[in-house]
């Protein structure tokens, strides 16, 4: 086995920022807004680095798709312990329309090129909440997938994944190479140490274009409009249960 793990990291608007919709309703305001690594991607990086520290894998490669700014996100992954980075250059309209389909094609192409043993991704991004990239990547590669992982154990040429599902926890064993997506309780990401932040400067980030990987970035989805959630309406107090039932019937709720 190559001992190489590919980790996808996405640059998203920071979770603490208050999101504002653009006046033309074409999207959300991103200019001048604080961005950081998607929290689930942080968990994915942490898991990969832990596997390397346990000497179960040899190399962690951090991948991000987007314009120049995503290099900051890759550097954060390097500071956490990834060995090298790949920046897939996507900008302009292609970046605006980029979604799980395009990213999964890119990840699949890179996974083949890098002969990855494992691809670890966050279960979803906090901006679009798609929860599709991991699953699509596995399908494109025809690899097994262990999604919503709360525990990952490498056992020879197989991976045991404990998955968080609605009913509780499901444990599966899949062959490698495989795709795993990280859920919240998989681990607690480390703070980068200052020496690692300095070392990150020296680690390599390769630049690649989607065309080099034979990936067509055309989107099959068109965003028609983005709106804020409706303002919460004031509630109403009623005196009796009969009043409550009456009001609910009026509102067509029952």
């Amino acid at each position: 086995m190559s001992g190489r793990v590919l980790v996808g990291v996405k640059r998203v608007i920071d979770y603490a920022v208050k999101i504002r919709v653009k006046p033309d309703h074409s999207g959300v305001v991103t200019d001048g807004v604080k961005h950081s690594m998607n929290p689930f991607c942080e968990i994915a990086v942490e898991e990969a680095v832990k596997l390397k520290e346990k000497k179960l894998i040899k190399e962690v490669v951090a991948v991000s798709c987007g314009p120049q700014q995503v290099q900051e996100t890759i550097r954060t992954a390097l500071a956490m312990g990834a060995d090298r980075g790949i920046h897939v250059e996507v900008s302009g309209k292609d970046y605006d329309n980029m979604g799980p389909l395009q990213v999964s094609k890119i990840m699949a192409a890179l996974a083949k090129k890098e002969e990855a043993q494992l691809v670890i991704l966050g279960k979803q991004a906090i901006d679009d909440d798609c929860n599709q990239t991991g699953q699509m990547t596995a399908a494109l590669l025809d690899w097994p997938q262990g999604t919503f992982a709360s525990e990952v154990t490498l056992e020879g040429d197989k991976v045991k994944v404990v998955r968080e599902i609605d009913g509780g926890l499901e444990t599966i064993k899949i062959n490698t190479p495989a795709v795993v997506t990280a859920d919240l309780r998989l681990n607690t990401p480390r703070y980068a140490t200052l020496p690692n932040i300095m070392k990150a400067k020296k680690k390599k980030i390769a630049n690649v274009k989607p065309a080099d990987l034979g990936v067509d970035m055309a989107s099959r989805v068109e965003v028609l409009r983005v709106d804020e959630p409706p303002q919460r309406q004031a509630g109403m107090k009623v005196e009796t249960v009969e009043d409550l039932v009456g009001k609910l019937k009026e509102a067509g709720r029952i």
């Binding site: 140490t193 200052l194 932040i197 300095m198 990150a200 400067k201």
Partner: protein
């Protein structure tokens, strides 16, 4: 003519030291990453517990260990000795972000870096560095700096703690006062008179482990602010240490202390900036949310002027702090700038925390909001590591030198 050349030379000295003027406009990527990492740590691990640490006067041992693991407790120390090998600009960014979360944790970090490790790194032998620095880089142990005495603070040259040589030992007697970290420290740098006739040129520096026979601690002071950091007297009674525990040459103690404090001032300036910023954050957030007379109070000019003045004070002091750090990193003279930074930042901290309470009104006076803690924490920054009055004297001294006819 000569005066014009002298003045121009003085100006040139300032500008050439600032060859990385761009760093004042935008920090290099590594510094930005470091700042963000420290800010994330402070937001997640310090801000939520700062009020409790303050109320219970409890030392943040766990957080200090975590910060040690990150490299924050020995930022300037080279990699080979167990440190992070970073520059002073990085250090001032780290202390500001940490202090923004918890001012007490900030001062523990600052004292360990600047006042304890600082002089050993600069004046210690290789053996001393290994013995007294390396164990203090991980967060497991912190150090302290004992200069002030009950009889002299600003008047450092009048040290009445005595060190006399007896065979192959130094025997120290005296009392040191106001020592930050004392109750939590595993070692101290102590200043004592070895030759009384030489006045301030007769003071030497020593290294003493803690606990140690002949060294005892006074009661923990019950302070107005920075309550999670311990402050107490250190009492030396026939404290016997090996001759090898002298730091630097005999009689160099005063010089070591003054040079150490020059750098320490950048650390305290950074701590004051963190407190001031936290006060501004609190006030600005409140100004958006609190309504009065039918609108958020942030719409009122009186509040707007306060916020503007607060932000101005912080930004000015921050740039002075960065400049002092950049000059120090470039190995240029930085005494004047460091004093200016500490003075500006500490006055900004007291000003901002005062105005922050004012903006919060009654809410600023109660412990439900952090404003009152910022007010209490800020006050000491104008006093320790050189009072505001001393800073003014230091600056004036430098100015007069520059204009020497």
């Amino acid at each position: 003519m000569a005066a014009i050349f002298k003045a121009r030379k003085a100006l040139g000295l300032c500008l050439s030291g600032c060859r990385s003027l761009t760093q004042l406009a935008e920090l290099p990527e590594m510094h930005q990453m470091l700042r963000q990492t420290c800010r994330d740590y402070a937001d997640r691990e310090l801000t939520p517990i700062a009020a409790k640490l303050d109320k219970e006067h409890s030392f943040p041992a766990k957080q200090i260990q975590e910060l040690g693991a990150m490299g924050v407790l020995a930022m300037e120390v080279p990699d080979g000795l167990g440190g992070a090998g970073m520059d002073y600009l990085a250090y001032s960014l780290a202390v500001e972000e940490i202090s923004r979360g918890c001012a007490s944790t900030g001062v523990v970090v600052s004292v360990n870096n600047s006042l304890y490790i600082g002089p050993i790194l600069k004046f210690g032998t290789e053996e001393q560095k290994k013995q007294w620095i390396t164990p203090f880089t991980t967060g497991e142990k912190v150090g302290c700096f004992a200069l002030s005495e009950p009889g002299n603070g600003s008047d450092a040259g009048a040290a009445s703690t005595i060190a006399r040589q007896e065979g192959d030992e130094w025997v120290l007697n005296g009392t040191k006062a106001w020592i930050t970290n004392s109750w939590d420290a595993s070692a101290t740098v102590v200043f004592a008179t070895t030759d009384k006739s030489l006045k301030h040129k007769g003071i030497s520096a020593f290294l003493i482990p803690m606990p140690y026979p002949g060294l005892s601690l006074g009661k923990k002071e019950d302070k107005l602010g920075i309550r999670a950091s311990s402050t107490a007297n250190i009492i030396l009674e026939d404290c016997r240490i090996p001759l090898g525990n002298m730091l630097g040459p005999r009689g160099a103690g005063f010089k070591i202390a003054m040079q150490t404090l020059d750098s320490g001032r950048i650390g305290i300036a950074a701590q004051a900036l963190g407190i001031a910023q936290a006060a501004l954050d609190c006030a600005a957030d409140y100004a958006h949310k609190r309504t009065a007379f039918g609108a958020p109070i942030g719409k009122m000019q009186a509040i707007q002027f306060k916020l503007a003045d607060m932000a101005l004070a912080i930004e000015s002091a921050r740039l002075l702090t960065w400049k002092a750090a950049i000059l120090r990193d470039a190995k240029k003279p930085f005494t004047k700038e460091a004093a200016m930074a500490k003075l500006a930042a500490s006055e900004a901290a007291t000003y901002c925390s005062h105005q922050s309470i004012q903006i919060l009104g009654g809410m600023g006076y109660v412990t439900d909001m952090p404003a009152e803690r910022h007010y209490r924490d800020a006050r000491i920054t104008e006093i320790y590591e050189g009072t505001s009055e001393i800073q003014r004297l230091v600056i004036a001294n430098q100015i007069l030198k520059e204009y020497q006819p």
